[in-house]
Every structure is written in structure tokens, then in C-alpha cells.
Symmetry: C2
Subunit: 218 residues, 2 copies
DNA sequence: TTCTATTTTTAGATTAGTCTAAATTTATTA
DNA sequence: TAATAAATTTAGACTAATCTAAAAATAGAA
């Protein structure tokens, strides 16, 4: 069995490979989990000797099938716990990330599955991210970045890229939550900011950076 | 903040002091948490330097107010999680101990209290053990050991001493669970075993060892 | 293609928690 | 009360995970 630390490395490698579509570099991992490159280098050798990663010195690292399975399961646990915290314990969506980081390391295959059942097999977490099933299959999101919506088009907010507390609090403040209907009124070329009609009522303008972090369904 | 390991030492010290009504010895702790006496000795000095324990070499150890508070809170968390696992996720009472050992180390004051609220402030865990409130106060159990029941007396099973999986499975097998009504039919002096009438129906005989692990309310 | 900058790895040290073996202190008992 | 047994602590070593500094390898630019 792996330590929590080792598990966190696998998750980081998964996340980076997913994002960049290539082997994760030592530096990318070290900045993802805030440790020195030296520590990462050490750990990569350990994870490889345990059959979790394919690693060639100076060439970056990818997950083996086994490593991928563990990483996916961590994500499953993380997102299910987030649903539990929000739906059952009434936490807000900006409070649950750090807690789920702890809970995802609880060891018990039975627990995850019972939790999944208790929550009635949710497909998405409170941030709109898909929850993989017990076999590691994700429900594919039919969603696009808000930036890809043309003027006058309407979409429903179904997910966010970032889940930092500051970003989520900002969204709450602007009256944006999952399920909110958005109509693009105007796109400003100058800085990429966008003027929106929210739920057919209020008008707000959001920056390009915010825009890129919002997923909508047409 | 303390590590999980340090927390486990505090819990062990709490448990032993409670049971024996005196300072916990190095050996008692080492057998409670299955580590060498040398490791315990080391740890006791560390915990004392952190203000968690009163420790005098060769004289055993007791908890400071702060240490006591942490230990009590761990017990609170442990028992609340056990209620959650049994009531909400349908685990059986013999399956939850090890999982609760992991869950009790999750750090978040908010989480415990929300869990408590979600479970509607249970007073006892699935083994009949009292759950301390947020201030560390236990509901006093008005219960006696089954061994103290005289012949012909009737009691309701309200708690168990041990919560090892083997013991609890044995009880299930014998048709004994919390709430079961027991009538003492005969006490055998020879080996301390006892013949019981269970729920006014079946007759069983249990050993003295089992007897000592059962609490009843008259 | 060669030199320089960047990235990555190695070397060596540190901390928490553990161990065994040896030394020391306390308890028991003759 | 002196000798022996038991309990406890200290010494020294090990592993996992981390760090900084130095060395080595790779990538990029002239």
C-alpha cells in the first residue's frame, strides 16, 4: 500500500499529464505539490520501483496502468467526499477542497462504494467536475469554455476550472453558481472581458481570466 | 498541531488512565499501541515538551488539560464516525472500528460539529459507548456489568467493553445486539459461565469472559 | 555546432518515528 | 537489606520524506 505522500505524487502526475498531454516533468510536479525538484526526483525513482510510473531520467514520468488506477480512484474519492460535504453537511463549495484532500486518503474500498450509493451515484462534484465510477470511467462532459460562446448565445454554467476558495467566493459574490443561465451580451476585444445577462435579470461584466475558468452547456 | 501518531499516544494514555485510575506506565502504553517501550519513552518526552502530558521519568504519565481535551475530541470524532458508518452507510458494528481509527484524525473542528448535527446529536455509538459533546462532557451511562446481575434478574444489553471484530461477530452469532433483553437463568460457579434467556425466547450459555464484556441496564 | 542557461539528478544532512541492545532505575523477595 | 527481577531509559541505527548545494545532462541560441 502507498503512503498519502506517494498518493499525492500520483495525483499530481495524473493532473499534469492530463493538462499538458505529455509526460510530467520534475519541475512541473515540484511546482504542483510545492516541494523541491530534488525531492520529486527521489520520489519518482521510488514510485517507478514500485511499478506505479514509467520513468526515464531526464525524460519525465507517466503513470503505469496501476498508477493510473490509483490516481483515478483518489479523484473518485475526493469528488464523492466533496458531494457529501456539500449535500449532507451543508458546507459551501469553496470550503470543501482541503477537507476532501484529507478524506481521499482514507483506505477502504468498501467505504467509497457505500458513500457513492448513499449519495445516489452522483456524476459531478460541487464544482461540476465528473466523478469516475468504480472502474475509473468518467462521464464525458458536453461543455465548452464560456469564451467560446458567441455574442447573443445562451448557456448554462455547468463547471469551473479552478476550485480555489477565492475564485469560488468571487463567483458567489457575482451571483454565479452551477445551473445559472448566462447570455453573452457583449465581448470586449480590448481585454477579452465579457458582459453577461445572468438568469435573465442582472447584467455583470467579468474578466477574460474568469471567463476561461467557466464551463457552460449550450 | 499534532501528528496522527502523537494523537494516538494521547488516546492510549487516556484509555489506560481511565481504566486503571492512575498514571499510565510506559509498558502499558507500549502494549496498547504495539510499539517498543523505547519508542514510547521517546514519545513521552516529546509530548511533555509540547505540554500535552505530565511526565516524570520512571513514574508514568498523565494528560494535561490540553492533552485531555485532544484525547476526548478524538473519542468524540471516532464515535460519531462510527454512528455515521453504521446508520448512514449500513456497515455492521464489527466493521467500523478500523475505519473510524482513520477518520478520527481528519482535522477540521467544523466537520465534527456538522457531522454531529447531521446525525442528530447521538449520545451513544454503535457499541453503546457514550459520545462526548463538543465540550468533552460524556453522558453518564447507567449500566452495570452483566456479571453483577443476580439469578432471575432481567436486563437490557446497552453496551460492550471490547469492540474487536471477532467479539462482535460472536455476539451477532449468539443473537445478541444492543437492546436485547436478557434474563439470568443460572450462574455456574465452576467457571463463571452464565445461562441466559434471550428476548424471552432462546436459551444460551456464555462464558465468564463474554459476560464481563457486556453491559446491561436493569 | 558550440556555448550558455535551464532542468534534473546526486550528495549529504535533517526530522519524525521506529527498532534492538545496553545501561539504569525501581520493585520484589529471600 | 542485599540480590535479583522487572520496568524504563539511553544509545545508536534505520526508513521515509524532506531540504540545500553541487554536479550532470539537456535544450536553446548565437
Amino acid at each position: 500500500m502507498l503512503s498519502s505522500t506517494e498518493e499525492n505524487y500520483l495525483k499530481a502526475i495524473y493532473k499534469i499529464s492530463e493538462r499538458d498531454n505529455k509526460a510530467a516533468s520534475t519541475n512541473a510536479i515540484s511546482s504542483e505539490i510545492s516541494t523541491s525538484a530534488a525531492s520529486v526526483s527521489d520520489m519518482l525513482q521510488r514510485l517507478s520501483s514500485k511499478g506505479m510510473t514509467h520513468y526515464e531520467k531526464y525524460k519525465g514520468v507517466t503513470l503505469t496502468e496501476q498508477g493510473n488506477k490509483i490516481a483515478t480512484n483518489l479523484i473518485r474519492k475526493h469528488r464523492l467526499w466533496e458531494v457529501f460535504l456539500v449535500e449532507k453537511l451543508n458546507f459551501t463549495w469553496d470550503e470543501v477542497h482541503d477537507l476532501a484532500e484529507q478524506l481521499e486518503h482514507i483506505q477502504s474500498p468498501d467505504l467509497v462504494n457505500r458513500l457513492d450509493q448513499f449519495l445516489e451515484h452522483p456524476k459531478f462534484d460541487p464544482h461540476g467536475d465528473p466523478i469516475p465510477d468504480a472502474d475509473g470511467n468518467f462521464t464525458h462532459r458536453r461543455q465548452i469554455e464560456l469564451t467560446n460562446l458567441a455574442t447573443e448565445e445562451i448557456g448554462t454554467l455547468v463547471g469551473v476550472q479552478e476550485d480555489s476558495s477565492t475564485f469560488l467566493k468571487y463567483l458567489d459574490r457575482m451571483g454565479l453558481s452551477l445551473g445559472t443561465e448566462l447570455k453573452v451580451l457583449e465581448k470586449f476585444e480590448f481585454d477579452g472581458s465579457v458582459k453577461l445577462l445572468v438568469n435573465n435579470k442582472e447584467q455583470i461584466t467579468i474578466s477574460n481570466k474568469v471567463c476561461k475558468n467557466l464551463f457552460v452547456k449550450k
